[in-house]
């Protein structure tokens, strides 16, 4: 039955805001195949980041099941979940989230500190990842010495360095200009096509969304049909 890599069944997420409970996700069921490239769109505050966090095991659903590769991750303990994340998920954030005190290479190496790989093998992996994103010659640069696009490519190298099957991207081009955004999208497409990464990407940008195999729309916590006509320049600016 488990032909799908990611399976959400009746997933809801509530947040408490003072006394009242806000239902951010409402009974979402969704399957994502291995090797799929899914775009996730929707207005600001519609729960896109929340959904991504549930997929990545950063948060747990109030109701429902999140299964990845046949495993119910929503039932794992926080410690087990952290370990699971380190080998299954690569996160890519809108603002890159690189550590400013580390060079590009050391930022990329961070996830490998969670493995038992010897130092020489770690270095190999880092070089491979940096090569893949085309930043070999920037290995010893600090984030402040890099452009936004370069920073995002370092972040992508960090996300793939331990070779996780799934990449979760939260508005990866949200802070980049158009041509840089295209470069990043090309890179993600390559990771999907040539390296078989399953990608779920939140975006506001229809251009970015066009790289996905399919696009899901989230509105008021529910997955729905796409809006009638997507305007050329969406106005959302949610982080």
């Amino acid at each position: 039955m488990a032909t799908q890599l990611i399976q959400l069944t009746g997933v809801s997420k509530n947040y408490r805001k003072g006394r009242e409970t806000v239902r951010v996700l409402d009974g979402i069921s969704l399957g994502i195949d291995k090797g799929d490239f899914v775009g996730l769109m929707g207005p600001s505050g519609s729960g896109k980041t929340t959904l991504l966090n549930l997929l990545g095991g950063l948060d747990k659903p109030t109701e429902g099941l999140v299964e990845v590769d046949g495993r119910v991750i929503s039932a794992l303990s926080p410690g087990a979940l952290a370990k699971w994340r380190s080998s299954n998920i690569g996160f890519i954030f809108q603002f890159y989230n690189l550590l400013p005190v580390l060079t590009a290479a050391r930022n990329v190496a961070l996830p490998l500190l969670l493995t038992s790989l010897p130092a020489s093998r770690r270095k190999q992996h880092v070089n491979t990842a940096l090569q893949l994103v085309g930043l070999t010659e920037r290995a010893s640069h600090y984030p402040r010495e890099l452009s936004g696009g370069q920073e995002q490519r370092v972040a992508i190298a960090r996300a793939i360095v331990s070779d996780p099957p799934i990449l979760l991207c939260d508005e990866p081009t949200g802070d980049l200009d158009r041509s840089t955004a295209d470069e990043i999208m090309d890179l993600l497409q390559r990771l999907n096509r040539d390296y078989g990464k399953t990608i779920v990407m939140v975006t506001h940008d229809p251009r970015a969304a066009s790289f996905a195999h399919r696009v899901l729309h989230l509105d008021k916590g529910e997955l729905g049909a796409p809006p009638e006509e997507t305007p050329g320049a969406p106005g959302g600016t949610s982080p």
Binding site: N53, L58, D59, P78, A82, S86, L110, P111, L113, S116
Partner: protein, 396 residues
């Protein structure tokens, strides 16, 4: 487990690397801890220095005879007849000529001007008899000559000469109605006697109309057994009402009052400073984890655990405290070790002593700093571990 150890090490290294990015709060915490450590080590070194001086002063084989009930030389008193009875009592060691090794002494307080303070302070002017020199261990004339019996001459202890003006050999100094010639400077093994001025006891009696009596009789005895014999003999004598002390015990009891006072004042100050330092550390560590909330959340998203995050925060706090502690110790050591000070002792005269900043005290100072670091780091560490990743990731 190997995993969380390496994780902790990696996170701690990251924390330390980011220390210079937030110099403000870290510097405040560090200087608070340094000040605490410095004061703490300072107080302890003062007490231990004073103790060392006092405890080095007394000898086990010297007996001190004081009027019954007197705990200080100053409030003891004998007539010369009583002093003679004591002089020839059993238990006292005699020299080759058969003369008892005894010095009947007077302990008089005069005013001298402090070199650094410029204010008047009490200094002991002690009248001794010729046997008095040999009764002090390590007595040595360092400069000039000894006073001539029968003249208004005195010799100054090294500590007294250093602390007070007008005590160089050859100088005349006036105490009350009498002018004295300083003929020399003596050492006495770093003991409390180096804080005193010595003169001929008979000259002292006439200089200040003290009559023919004495305040204390010092006698060489044959160890504890000799002292016991002396005590027995004097106790049985109807003409006397005296206490016989071991000189060693007398001075260590005198030290206790003052060291207790130093500690009574110093320890609460240290405790207050420790509380201040803990709050500064708390503040610095909360600032540290707040400034790096998103970084920490990112690391947690990558798969770093919450226990390593907590331990690394604690390590950062302890490292901060260690730096502060070492700094404080270095300052205390550079500024205070061997620093000479004087304080009013329970003899009501100034005792000159050196601060003794020993490795032992430095270890205690650093331990105090580490305790502050641990206590100040615990709550921030718990917060670092408990902070929900998703919330911190949303913050910019």
């Amino acid at each position: 487990m190997f995993g969380w150890l390496t994780q902790t090490a990696a996170l701690a290294a990251l924390n330390l690397r980011s220390l210079p990015r937030r110099p403000g709060a870290a510097a405040v915490a560090m200087s608070g801890i340094a000040a605490l450590t410095g004061v703490f080590a300072g107080v302890l070194s003062m007490a231990s220095g004073f103790e060392k001086t006092m405890e080095g002063s007394g000898q086990e084989d010297v007996a001190l005879v004081l009027r019954s009930g007197s705990t200080a030389e100053l409030n003891s008193r004998f007539s010369s007849e009583q002093a003679d009875v004591i002089r020839y009592a059993p238990g006292i060691v005699r020299d080759a000529a058969g003369e008892p090794r005894v010095s009947s002494e007077l302990f008089w307080i005069v005013n001298a001007v402090g070199k650094s303070s410029g204010t008047e302070a009490n200094v002991a002017l002690r009248g001794i008899q010729p046997a008095g020199y040999a009764l002090r261990k390590g007595y040595r004339l360092a400069e000039g000559r000894e006073f001539t019996p029968g003249r208004f001459e005195l010799i100054a202890g090294r500590g007294a000469r250093n602390q007070f003006a007008g005590l160089e050999p050859g100088q005349m100094i006036r105490f009350g109605k009498t002018e004295w010639l300083v003929t020399g400077v003596f050492e006495a093994g770093g003991s409390v006697f180096e804080s005193e001025l010595w003169c001929d006891v008979n000259v002292l009696q006439s200089a200040y109309q003290l009559g023919s009596g004495f305040q204390v009789v010092r006698a060489q005895v044959d160890g504890a057994a000799g002292r016991a014999r002396l005590e027995e003999a004097l106790d049985g004598d109807q003409r006397l009402a005296v206490d016989v002390w071991s000189e060693e015990q007398f001075y260590s009891e005198q030290a206790e009052d003052t060291t207790a006072l130093i500690r009574v004042i110093g320890i609460p100050i240290s405790v207050l400073m420790a509380i201040g330092a803990i709050f500064a550390t708390l503040n610095a560590m909360y600032a540290s984890i707040a400034a790096r909330a998103r970084e920490l959340a990112t690391l947690r998203a990558l798969g770093f655990g919450s226990l390593p995050a907590a331990l690394a925060t604690l390590l950062e706090s302890v490292a901060l405290a260690l730096l502060g502690g070492v700094l404080g110790c270095a300052i205390a050591w550079l500024a205070l070790n061997g620093f000479q000070a004087s304080t009013l002792a329970s003899s009501f005269s100034q005792v000159v002593f050196n601060f003794a900043v020993t490795p032992d005290l430095l270890a205690q100072g650093v331990t105090a700093a580490l305790v502050v670091g641990l206590v100040g780091g615990v709550f921030p560490a718990v917060r670092a571990a408990m902070a929900p990743v998703t919330v911190a990731l949303r913050e910019l």
